[in-house]
Symmetry: C2
Subunit: 218 residues, 2 copies
């Protein structure tokens, strides 16, 4: 038990919530107080009924003829996704990608606060990247405990991904956002979510191949 998505809300729905949020932010900025499922759907290329199902999932109901309350919806999504109370996170690996993630301005809005980076390269340790200090990875255990950090963003070379993951788990990290192409082995209870660039690129190129074939056969 406790291996599965406990909230009862389908994962595809959860993935769409940030998209809804962005439409809703625009609506709020435009002083709209209500919004219809068909408007949201049109903006995102979805079906209205899917939008309604998804929104019902996080407990917001609309009013027939009126639509959904914009602000209430925003608050419900922010609460559900934890955007309202920020979690601290470490970035592990201060290379190209780690540095880019440290400078990414969007995380704050999404409830993620990067407090520090870790690396094992002495030329980086002690320096600052985007105003965040790079610590010796040896100190991760100590700092994880002291600062109560539970999220680690893994941005190291693939070759050392598993070894560094082990260090993160030992350090007390509970959730790993994995930017490496490695399928990580972790103990029960540790959460891993991978940003799978290879999968995304595979989809892109298969679409491209299909498009070219489609054109040729016309």
């Amino acid at each position: 038990m406790s291996e599965e998505n406990k909230s009862g809300i389908p994962l595809p729905t959860i993935r769409r919530l940030p998209l809804y949020a962005s439409i809703l932010f625009n609506a709020r900025d435009g002083k709209q107080t209500t919004i219809s499922s068909s408007y949201i759907a049109k903006e995102l290329g979805l079906e209205p009924i899917q939008v309604r199902k998804d929104l019902a999932g996080i407990g917001i109901t609309g009013q027939p003829r009126i639509g959904f309350p914009v602000v209430e919806l925003i608050e419900a999504i922010e609460k559900f996704l934890g955007w309202d109370n920020t979690s601290d996170a470490f970035i592990v690996g201060a290379g190209n990608l780690g540095a880019a993630l440290a400078g990414y301005p969007g995380f704050k809005k999404h409830g993620l606060n990067v407090v520090a980076l870790f690396d094992c390269d002495y030329s980086k340790i002690g320096s600052k990247i985007h105003d965040k200090e790079v610590f010796d990875i040896e100190r991760m255990g100590h700092l994880t405990e002291r600062l109560g950090v539970s999220i680690g963003i893994l941005a190291v070379p693939a070759e050392v991904a598993q070894a560094i993951t082990n260090l993160m788990v030992d350090a007390g990290i509970k959730a790993i956002w994995n930017f490496t192409p490695t399928k990580l082995l972790v103990p029960n209870g540790i959460i891993v979510e991978r940003v799978d660039l290879a999968a995304s690129l595979a989809v892109l190129s298969s679409k491209l191949t299909a498009a070219i074939k489609g054109k040729k056969s016309n």
Copy 2:
């Protein structure tokens, strides 16, 4: 028509192919000539039958009692995903993320060759990032045509994502790998695949919330 995944292979299968490839590379390095679906499945936390279905999809059959031929499988996956003949690509946006992507060593293996970057910041134009030149975005149309590039990697700030996309489409880019949080509007026939960090983070935090709740209720 031609809007859908024409290859007939389900998208989830396509996303798993790179995972299979990584297991197969290991097997080949270990001089294994055959591999069973249950071994692959165990390594990836999948069901053996799912692995067999997926592999059947790309046209490779195994032998009862023996398993699947490692090298043949690798070649089939590489061919299907276009890893065997490299496509050139531009990175548009030479900021933190664009620079990190320009230095990412994995693209070559996945059939993607970054030939140049584009930006509109004159302090960057003319410089080199990871040995790749940064060009004025004004020249994108010219260079897209001259070099026959069809893939653009979009790594600009969200605010300008749509505007730069329009430039890319005008320049002749056929497929956009979108690293921004923006849902892009593109003409028919232009392919967009988005790396949706917000969706991934949403899944991570909902899992984390569920895990904490689960623990509390125990």
